[in-house]
Amino acid sequence: MQTKRTIFGNKGLPYLLLAPQLVITAIFFLWPAGQAVRQSFLREDAFGLSTTFVGLRNYRALFDNPEYLDALQVTVVFSIATVVLSLSIALVLALAVDRMLRSAGTYTTLLIWPYAVAPAVAGILWWFIFNPAIGILPFVLEQTMGYDWNHNLNGRDAMILVIIAAVWKQISYNFLFFLAGLQSIPTSLREAAAIDGAGPFKRFWTITLPLLSPTTFFLLVVNVVFTLFDTFAIIDATTGGGPAQATNILVYKVYDDGFVGLNLGSSAAQSVILMMIVMVLTFIQFRYVERKVTY
C-alpha cells in the first residue's frame, strides 16, 4: 500500500486541525467511558447519597451470575445470526440489482427505505405483526401450519422475532454498500473472465467476491458493532428482553439493570465489559481478518 505524507511547516497546525475531532472524542467517548469505569468500582444507592468503593466486586458478581452468562450467550447467538443473515441477504439483493439494466433505481430506493425508519418504529411494526393476540402472522401460522406462535412464552420464537427485526433493519445499509462496491468493479474484468469460459459462479467466487472484500470487511465491523449496541431499540420495542431473558442481550441488560433496576455499579461494570468486548473484536478483525482483504 502506498502512503502519502504531507509536510507541515508549522508544528501547531496539525494539532489544530485534529483538535475538533479530538475534542468530540474526549467529550462523547473518553469522559463518559471514564465515568463508567469509575462507577463500576463503586456501590451506590440510586440517589447518590452513599457511595462505597467495592473494588472488583461488581465484576466478580457478574461472572458469578448465571443470568449474566446467559445474556452473553444470547448476545453471541443474536449477533452471529444477525450479521450473517443481513450480510448474505444484502449481497444477494445487491447482485440482483447490479444485473438489472432498467428500474434498478426504483429497486434501490425501495430496498433502502427501511433504513430511514427509526428503530423504535420498526420495533413497534414487528410487535404488531407478530403479536400473539392481535398480530397477523401468528394467525396465518396457526391457520396454515398449525404452529402456535407465542414469543411471550417461547424463547426461540422471541429470538427469531428480534433477529428478523434487526436483519430487516440492517439489510438496507449493507445493500447500499455492496451495490456501490459491485459497481466499482470494472466490467472488463468480468467480461474477460467470461470470454475465457468462466461460468457465473466461477466469476463470482474468483473475481467479484475478492474485489468486494474491502466492502465486506468494513460491513463486518460495522454490523458487529450494530448488533452489540444499536439493536437496543428493537429489543425494547418488541420483547423487552423476554421471555425469561431469552432475548436479553448485553446492551439491553446494561439499560435494564441501570435505568430500571437503578443498580448503577453493576450496570457500569457491564458497560465496561461490553466496551472491552467490542475493542477486542475490532482488534481481532483488523489484525487477522483484514489480512485476507485485497485493496
Binding site: S50, G242, P243, A244, L262
Partner: protein, 440 residues
C-alpha cells in the same frame, strides 16, 4: 399601527406576563400519566392554579412510571430536581430509603403549618405509605386494586347467570369450561399484571405471607416467603389452565395482550386494576360488562381477606425553597379535599383516598348509578388488614417484579414446575433485597 408600535405593545404585555409569573412561586410536578389520565391530571393543576394566585403548579409528563422515577433521580443527582414527583408503589422502598433526598409528607405539612389530619385518609391506602411509626411519607395520588371483569353476554350465551360473578377459583374454572364447551368464547379468563394480581394480591387475599418482617414493612432485613403451598397450588393451576386453554397469558409487566383478549370476546373473564374500568367500558360497546371481586380458594382458611393497592403516590424531593414547600403543602391539601378527590375517583376509577371523598361520592349517588364502581373499595376494606395483607415493601422491587414475570414465563413454557418457579423467585428476589440492603 406601525411595526414599532406593535413591537412596543408586544414587549410591554410580555413583560407584564413575565412579572406576573415571577410573583408566583413555581412548583414543578413530574408525573407519569399519559393519554386521558394525563388530561385529568393536568386539569387538577389548572384547577389549583385558578383557585389561588400565590403558587403556580407546572405539571410535566415524563413518560412511564419507570422513566419518571429514573428521570427524577437523575435530575436530583444533577441538582435540577422537581418539587413533586409521582412514583409507583414498587418504587416506594427505594424512595423511603433515600433519607435526605425526600421530604416526608407529615414533616412537610408540619413545617408549612398546614392543616393536616392523617386519620381522614383511608387506612388501607395510607398504610402502604407510612413508616413503622405511622407517619405518612408520601401523598397517595392514584391508588387502585385489582378486580374481576366479565362478559355478561358470553355468560348468557354459555348458559350461566350473567348477574352472578364467579366467587371462587373453582367457579372460575367451572365457568370457563362451560364457556369454552358451549362455544361462547375461546378461552375462560386472562389477567393483567401477573406479579401484582396473581401473586402479591393473591397472597394478601388469602392471608398468606409475602415476606418476613410484616412483608418488609419492618425493615430492610426482610426476606420473601411467597413460595408457600397456597401460592404454589395457584401457579400450578394457572400453568395447567394455560395448557388447556382455560387461561391465556397476556404477557409480562402489565400484560399488554390481556385487554385485547377480553375486548375482542376471546376470553370471557379478565382480572385487572379497578382503574382499568373506564378503559374497559370504552372498549366494550358490543357487550355488557359485569364486575366482581377477585376469586379465592374457599378451602383456604382466612380467605378472602382483603386485597392490596397498586398505583402511585406523590413524593416531595428535598432542595426546594421554604416558599415552594409551602406551595406543595397547599397543593396537597387541595388534592385531598373531598370535592377534588371524589371527582378524580369518579373520572378515573382510582380509589378515593379519604373517607370523606368516598362518602361524598355515595351521597352524590355515584355508586347507585354505576354498579360495580365500589367493588374495589369493598374488596379492599373487606376485613381489617393483617400483617400479611397490609401491603408490601421491598428494596429493588422493580427488578423483583421482573423476576416474577420471568419465572412465570418459565413455568408456562414448561421448563420448571410451580414450586421450582416460586422457589427461584424467592431466591433471586432475596439476592436483590440483600444488594439493596448493602447499598443503603
Amino acid at each position: 399601527m406601525t411595526f414599532s408600535k406593535i413591537a412596543a405593545a408586544g414587549t410591554v404585555s410580555l413583560l407584564a406576563l413575565v412579572s406576573a409569573a415571577q410573583a408566583q412561586t413555581q412548583i414543578d410536578w413530574w408525573h407519569a400519566m399519559g393519554g386521558e389520565l394525563g388530561e385529568k391530571t393536568e386539569a387538577l393543576a389548572t384547577a389549583f392554579n385558578a383557585a389561588q394566585s400565590e403558587f403556580v403548579v407546572v405539571p410535566s409528563y415524563r413518560g412511564s412510571y419507570t422513566e419518571t422515577m429514573t428521570g427524577a433521580i437523575a435530575a436530583f443527582r444533577a441538582g435540577e430536581q422537581p418539587d413533586i414527583v409521582q412514583v409507583f408503589e414498587v418504587g416506594t422502598g427505594t424512595m423511603m430509603a433515600a433519607e435526605g433526598a425526600i421530604v416526608p409528607v407529615y414533616q412537610l405539612m408540619a413545617d408549612a403549618g398546614a392543616e393536616f389530619d392523617p386519620s381522614a385518609f383511608l387506612p388501607a391506602v395510607v398504610g402502604y405509605y407510612t413508616d413503622p411509626e405511622g407517619n405518612m411519607l408520601s401523598m397517595p395520588f392514584n391508588s387502585s386494586t385489582p378486580i374481576m371483569y366479565y362478559n355478561k353476554n358470553v355468560f348468557a350465551a354459555a348458559g350461566l347467570d350473567p348477574e352472578q360473578a364467579p366467587r371462587t377459583w373453582a367457579d372460575v374454572e367451572a365457568f370457563s369450561r362451560q364457556i369454552m364447551a358451549s362455544g361462547a368464547a375461546e378461552c375462560g379468563f386472562t389477567t393483567g399484571w401477573v406479579s401484582w394480581v396473581q401473586l402479591e394480591n393473591f397472597s394478601a387475599w388469602h392471608n398468606q405471607q409475602i415476606g418476613t418482617l410484616e412483608n418488609g414493612f419492618g425493615g430492610l432485613e426482610t426476606e420473601l416467603t411467597f413460595n408457600g403451598p397456597v401460592q404454589v397450588r395457584h401457579w400450578e393451576n394457572l400453568a395447567r389452565w394455560q395448557q388447556e386453554g382455560v387461561f391465556q397469558y397476556g404477557g409480562p409487566g402489565g400484560g399488554a395482550d390481556a385487554p385485547p383478549m377480553f375486548y375482542s370476546q376471546k376470553c370471557g373473564m379478565y382480572m385487572n386494576s379497578s382503574a382499568s374500568r373506564a378503559g374497559v367500558l370504552n372498549n366494550t360497546p358490543d357487550f355488557e360488562v359485569g364486575i366482581g371481586m377477585l376469586p379465592y380458594y374457599d378451602d383456604v382458611a382466612g380467605a378472602p381477606q382483603n386485597s392490596i393497592i397498586g398505583g402511585a403516590t406523590l413524593w416531595v424531593l428535598a432542595g426546594g425553597s421554604a416558599e415552594e414547600q409551602r406551595g406543595v403543602a397547599a397543593f396537597f391539601n387541595f388534592l385531598s379535599s373531598p370535592e377534588v378527590q371524589a371527582q378524580w375517583h369518579q373520572d378515573t376509577g382510582y380509589l378515593p383516598i379519604t373517607q370523606a371523598a368516598y362518602e361524598l361520592s355515595e351521597a352524590q349517588g355515584y355508586y347507585a348509578a354505576n354498579p360495580g364502581a365500589d367493588t374495589s373499595i369493598m374488596q379492599m376494606t373487606l376485613n381489617a388488614p393483617t400483617s400479611n395483607s397490609k401491603g408490601l415493601r421491598f428494596g429493588n422491587y422493580v427488578q423483583i417484579r421482573g423476576v416474577i414475570d420471568e419465572e412465570f414465563q418459565r413455568l408456562l413454557a414448561g421448563s420448571v414446575d410451580a414450586q421450582g418457579a416460586l422457589d427461584a423467585v424467592v431466591a433471586r428476589g432475596n439476592a436483590l433485597i440483600r444488594e439493596f440492603e448493602a447499598a443503603n
